[in-house]
């Protein structure tokens, strides 16, 4: 049997379904065309019986034969058809992604024709239900069908079953077969284009001027000297010091440390339903900023309330999402995945968030608070000047972040 089919089900369910035909897949239902055809066939039979015209008996038999053959064919086209879902590398809410179905026809002689492949358990996870059409697959043939899907929400996307559906050859009956294939994937929050001005603000030095943290290994400014080792670039030999000390020494130059930012995501949900959309916009902005900063080589970290129960109303003392700033593709994936899973909270205000994230935002790290509310900054923070506040509903934020107009933030909550 194709992978993911009934044979993979637990044994009890397998035998129950084998023994009870009504529960055995695939299911079959007669369509309106099918009922019409059955009616026509019966009419032919009645006409033949009434008139005793031999040709009508033959035509009646032909109609029955076509009905029988179409029933057999609709089973045949589904037999030995294996469909495997291949998810894309990443999915972003509100953005189109390519979902691929790899189909293989294991039959030696019969083709597979006119199969609709769809997701049976995706609910409203996508803007439009994923649907692919396999027009024809030759015997022992393989093909891949790529379709465009747009996830509606961020968070964990679970896909359990595929639905194979056909009415071939004449549409008299619909056969449906469910293929169990479990996949889950994290859908990142919506990512928009971030204005360069904001990024420059994030890069600029803070009030202390200590925006650069020198470290060795670069070619910028003088950092120090060390003993020359075979294989190093002889250009960096510090001849003067070497002559003085009698030991061959080499200069070490600084490596400019990239700017570090920590995105503080305020996910506090108010009693007003409209707040849900604002919170989602906040998270999307935070993710967009993190994504854009990482793309430009910055080190990015994040902090946000993260109730461990995953409940939208976290209790006091629950965990926080605290991600230290770093770089890299893997870090980007992890960071965006973490932001995707953020539940809204009603207990932890932004002030608490700032306080908890103080360790992360210390030093030369720029803190960017993304919130949907108006936040009053303490004098100490003002003095430090290390925090940028982005109010998601403000006109400035609308100018810094550009999202696809078709994105509906109200429906993005996982």
């Amino acid at each position: 049997m194709p992978p993911g089919d009934l044979a993979d089900a637990p044994a009890s369910r397998y035998w129950i379904r084998r023994l009870l035909p009504s529960l055995r897949e695939p299911r079959r239902t007669l369509t309106r065309s099918g009922w019409t055809y059955v009616g026509l066939s019966l009419f032919m039979g009645v006409a033949a019986t009434n008139t005793q015209a031999n040709l009508l008996f033959a035509v009646f038999g032909l109609t029955l034969g076509v009905l029988l053959a179409s029933g057999v064919l609709s089973s045949l086209v589904m037999k030995k058809l294996s469909v495997t879902r291949v998810l894309p590398g990443q999915m972003v809410a509100g953005q189109a992604a390519s979902l691929v179905y790899e189909c293989e026809n294991g039959k030696r002689f019969w083709p597979t024709m006119s199969i609709r492949i769809g997701e049976a358990s995706c609910g409203t996870a996508f803007v439009r239900r994923p649907l692919a059409y396999l027009a024809h697959l030759a015997p022992r043939g393989r093909t891949s069908i790529a379709i465009e899907v747009i996830p509606r929400r961020r968070g964990v996307l679970k896909l359990d079953k595929l639905e194979l559906n056909t009415g071939y050859p004449l549409g008299f009956a619909r056969r449906v077969r469910m293929v169990e294939q479990r996949h889950s994937m994290v859908v990142f929050p919506a990512l928009g284009r971030v204005d360069e001005r904001l990024l420059k603000m994030c890069r600029s030095a803070d009030a202390s001027g200590a925006s650069v943290r020198p470290r060795g290994g670069g070619q910028d400014e003088f950092y120090g000297v060390h003993e020359y080792r075979t294989g190093q670039n002889p250009r960096w030999i510090y001849w003067r010091r070497s002559a003085r000390t009698g030991v061959l020494v080499s200069r070490e130059m600084t490596q400019v440390s990239p700017p570090r930012i920590v995105v503080l995501v305020d996910t506090q949900l108010g009693p007003d339903a409209a707040d849900a959309a604002s919170v989602e916009r906040t998270i999307a902005m935070a993710a967009s900023l993190a994504h854009a900063a990482l793309e430009r080589g910055m080190s990015v970290g994040a902090a946000a309330p993260m109730p461990s129960s995953g409940s939208p109303r976290p209790k006091r003392g629950d965990d926080w999402l605290l991600v230290a700033p770093t770089r890299g593709k893997r870090h980007r994936q992890d960071l965006l995945a973490a932001l995707a899973r953020l539940p809204p909270n009603t207990d932890q205000p932004a002030e608490r968030l700032i306080e908890v994230a103080r360790d992360l935002t210390g030093g030369v790290t720029t803190a960017v608070l993304v919130t949907s509310r108006r936040v009053e900054m303490h004098l100490a923070d003002r003095v430090r000047g290390a925090m940028i506040v982005v109010q998601s509903g403000s006109p400035e934020a609308a100018g810094w972040f550009h999202f696809d107009p078709s994105i509906d933030f109200a429906g993005m909550q996982p």
Binding site: Q52, A58, A69, M113, G141
Partner: protein, 794 residues
């Protein structure tokens, strides 16, 4: 592959074919022309993009009005239900074409078209229509398949929110399109075969007669033009318009003296007889032949058509001893539109079947040995008649005298013009005996002739002389063209004109003249209308009777040598009895096609409950016979006195079973050993990580490489696991150049097979084997020693 541009033309062609088939069956050429023009106009509008669908309310109004009109026509009984329904369907089809907006309307038009063709199937029994209908159904199936795919594809594209052109991924290549066509052909073939098998099975095995007319008696379509000459009255002057149609009236298979007829003799089929000529009577229609006997009283037997043979004469338990020359014929009669049934002679035993309801009744008339149906024959009818070629006057012994007397005497006589009488009495016409005595006067006197040659058979000689007189081409000429004599015949007795003035005419003139001349001298004579057929099909072994074979001749009641009174046939028109057998190639082809039609009519169209019973019984009988044969064979083999018994002795049986078991075990072991061997080979050549199907495919293909590896291993050259085959081959630099290159070449072949989907055929396998043999030979000969430092360990 989802580009269904060809769908529309095919759809319109199918509709036109269906309408054409129906109009052909219903013989409605004008309707066909109108429908074709309207449909083609619709097609042109659609293809040029100028089509605007009719508003729904308008089309609904038309449908309702048409429906009401159909109901009114049905209630007023101005047309049969089939024609009314078919006309309604045609109108609906046109309405559907002109309001089509989507695929649903197309599907509905298709259904209407199919119903129209099925209506045509009720109206005709022609083989060619059946073949056309079969072709139509195949095409309709194909169009339905295409329509379904089109509908499904567009619906899915709409659900996906994508344009139709990009809804399929990836776009099909030419190879995909070829494969698609192949797949569609397979599906079509499967559909056609299964539906044909089921159709034939239902046709054969569905019980006939069950619940017939449960919804009322269906009206059979009337024949538009009944065959001429078989009406109840025949007016001579109307015969100028006799049809010369070559339409087939019947196909008749004749058996004479238990042997099939070979067509050497012409076939005479008797239809009806008339014996009273009205002449210029004012009480009856002038110049009309009628049956002078009382038909109602002369009917001796009326039966219901059925498969059980019925005697044509009641109270006849056995055939008369006189009827020793038994002959039979099977008549496959086409719809004639008349009540007359055709028989070659005196019918004795009658077998018929009917597929219509109510089942008709047949009446047999002893006065002239003809048969009639109680309803006009508007459907194909097949019947078998055992007949006596002699048409005797005397009824079988068991018949009642009262009936015999009543049947033999006509109730009125012919009105014969004196000129005809005078001509008949003319000695040069009626003849004289050796003594110069006028035979006509002699016959009227009732005396036998003194001429020993003539004796008491005066009447016979008179009749023969009359026939000779009319046969004389110097006196009379046969023609069908009587148009120039309309004025001459007007107001005058046409027979008198024929005999005395024009001396030109066709069969009815000749037969009328002969009959009246005989009657004028006192002979009992009558005119017979029927068919004289001389076209024999050697391919089918039957006579083909056409409308143009319609003929009239005379029967005269004469006494034969045995003293019986027999109605003797005289054909005053022609004396040529030889049948026409055309054996040219074109004639044979036509005869073969006609044979198909005949077989269709007899085997399919008239297939009924008795035929079904016979077929099913035959199948059951054959199955029983087969089972009986197997049982007999088994009995024969197991009989102890049978010399073949030792073949099945217990010892031998045990031995056979043991041997077979051993073979099975050996086969299983062999299979396991082979599987293990192939598995090891797969590991050696490095394909054990592949899918099983790929492993099985490659392990045999790469046998040469495995052999090479084993050969090198035997000589101490082992491949390290981490080495690829190419690296391994390059590491063998220490080998002689010839071997090194061979190994390298074999390695490249390995790669082509392993990764390049190449395959090794027999010729290539032999060349590879030869290369490895060469390597082996050199290695054995050289017994080379590996240079130091080149040891390679596994």
């Amino acid at each position: 592959m989802n580009d269904l541009r060809h769908f529309r033309p095919l759809f319109y062609f199918l509709l036109l074919l269906g309408v054409s088939a129906y109009c052909w069956a219903a013989e409605m050429p004008l309707t066909w022309m109108i429908m074709a023009v309207v449909m083609l106009l619709n097609a042109v509008l659609v293809f040029t993009g100028r089509f605007i669908p009719m508003p729904r309310f308008f089309s609904t109004a038309i449908t309702v009005i048409a429906f009401l009109a159909a109901v009114i026509m049905l209630l007023s009984e101005r047309a049969t239900i089939f024609t009314v329904v078919a006309d309604f369907l045609m109108l609906l089809l046109l309405v559907k074409l002109y309001e089509q907006r989507g695929d649903r309307d197309v599907a509905q038009a298709l259904i209407l078209n199919v119903l129209l063709v099925v209506s045509g199937a009720i109206m005709t029994s022609s083989l060619w229509f059946a073949l056309t209908m079969a072709s139509y159904l195949v095409l309709a199936l194909f169009v339905s398949l295409a329509l379904y795919q089109k509908t499904e594809f567009e619906a899915t594209a709409a659900a996906m929110g994508r344009p139709v052109a990009t809804a399929t991924s990836p776009p099909p290549t030419p190879a995909d399109k070829r494969q698609f066509r192949r797949s569609v052909n397979r599906v079509m073939a499967f559909l056609m075969v299964v539906s044909a098998v089921i159709g034939v099975a239902v046709f054969i095995f569905f019980p006939r007669g069950l619940a017939a007319q449960m919804l009322g008696s269906p009206q059979v379509a009337q024949v538009a033009d009944p065959v001429t000459g078989l009406d109840d009255q025949s007016q001579v002057e109307q015969m100028v318009r006799v049809s010369q149609d070559t339409e087939i009236v019947a196909r008749v298979k004749v058996t004479l003296n238990d042997k099939p007829a070979n067509g050497e003799q012409a076939l005479w089929l008797r239809g009806k007889t008339v014996d009273a000529y009205a002449g210029n009577s004012t009480t009856r229609r002038p110049w009309t032949w009628e049956a002078g006997h009382d038909s109602a009283r002369s009917a001796t037997h009326t039966v219901t058509l059925g498969s059980t043979p019925v005697n044509a004469w009641y109270r006849t338990d056995k055939l008369n001893a006189d009827t020793s020359t038994l002959n039979s014929c099977t008549v496959a009669l086409a719809p004639t539109g008349t009540n007359v049934l055709l028989t070659p002679g005196r019918p004795l035993v009658w077998t018929a079947s009917s597929t219509i309801s109510p089942i008709p009744r047949v009446s047999f008339y002893s006065v002239d040995w003809t048969a009639r149906c109680n309803v006009p024959i508007n459907w194909p009818l097949t019947y078998t008649v055992t007949f006596d070629p002699r048409v005797t006057l005397t009824l079988p012994e068991s018949d009642s005298p009262e009936n015999r007397n009543a049947a033999t005497q006509p109730t009125y006589h012919s009105l014969i013009d004196p000129k005809i009488r005078d001509l008949a009495h003319d000695p040069t016409v009626c003849g004289v005996d050796h003594n110069g005595v006028n035979l006509a006067q002699l016959y009227e006197s009732g005396q036998p002739s003194l001429d020993p040659e003539i004796g008491p058979n005066v009447g016979t000689y008179i009749a023969q002389n009359f026939q000779s007189y009319l046969h004389n081409k110097n006196n009379f000429h046969y023609t069908l063209d009587m148009s120039d004599q309309d004025k001459m015949l007007k107001g005058r007795d046409p027979i008198v004109v024929f005999l005395t003035e024009t001396r030109r005419g066709y069969c009815e003139f000749f037969a009328s003249a002969m009959t009246l001349m005989c009657q004028s001298v006192g002979l009992r004579a009558r005119m017979v209308f029927g068919y004289r057929c001389d076209e024999f099909s050697p391919v089918g072994g039957y006579y083909v009777v056409r409308e143009s074979d319609a003929h009239a001749w005379t029967e005269v009641l004469l006494t034969d040598a045995q003293g019986s009174q027999v109605w003797t046939r005289f054909d005053a028109t022609s004396g040529d009895e030889k049948a026409l057998i055309n054996t040219s190639l074109s004639a044979r082809i036509m005869q073969f096609l006609d044979l198909l039609n005949y077989q269709w009519a007899t085997a399919v169209v008239t297939y009924d409950q008795p035929a079904r019973h016979e077929l099913v019984s035959g199948i059951v009988t054959r199955l029983h016979a087969a089972a009986e044969a197997i049982r007999s064979l088994f009995d024969f083999l197991t009989r102890s006195e049978n010399p073949w018994t030792w073949l099945i002795s217990p010892t031998l049986l045990v031995g056979v079973i043991l041997t077979m078991s051993l073979l099975v075990v050996v086969a299983i072991v062999g299979y396991i050993v082979e599987a293990v061997r192939l598995r090891r080979r797969a590991r050696r050549v490095g394909i054990d990580g592949l899918e099983r199907s790929d492993q099985q495919r490659l392990v045999r293909q790469l046998a040469f490489y495995d052999r090479m590896i084993v050969l090198l291993a035997r000589n101490g050259i082992l491949r390290q696991p981490q080495m690829t085959p190419l690296e391994f081959s390059r590491s063998l630099w220490f080998l002689p150049p010839g071997i090194y290159q061979d190994i390298h070449r074999l390695t490249l072949v390995y790669y082509r097979i392993r990764y390049g989907q190449a395959e090794v055929d027999d010729a290539r396998r032999r060349r590879l084997s030869a290369s490895i043999d060469h390597i082996e030979a050199i290695l054995d000969r050289e017994k080379f020693k590996r240079p130091l430092g080149t040891e390679i360990t596994a």
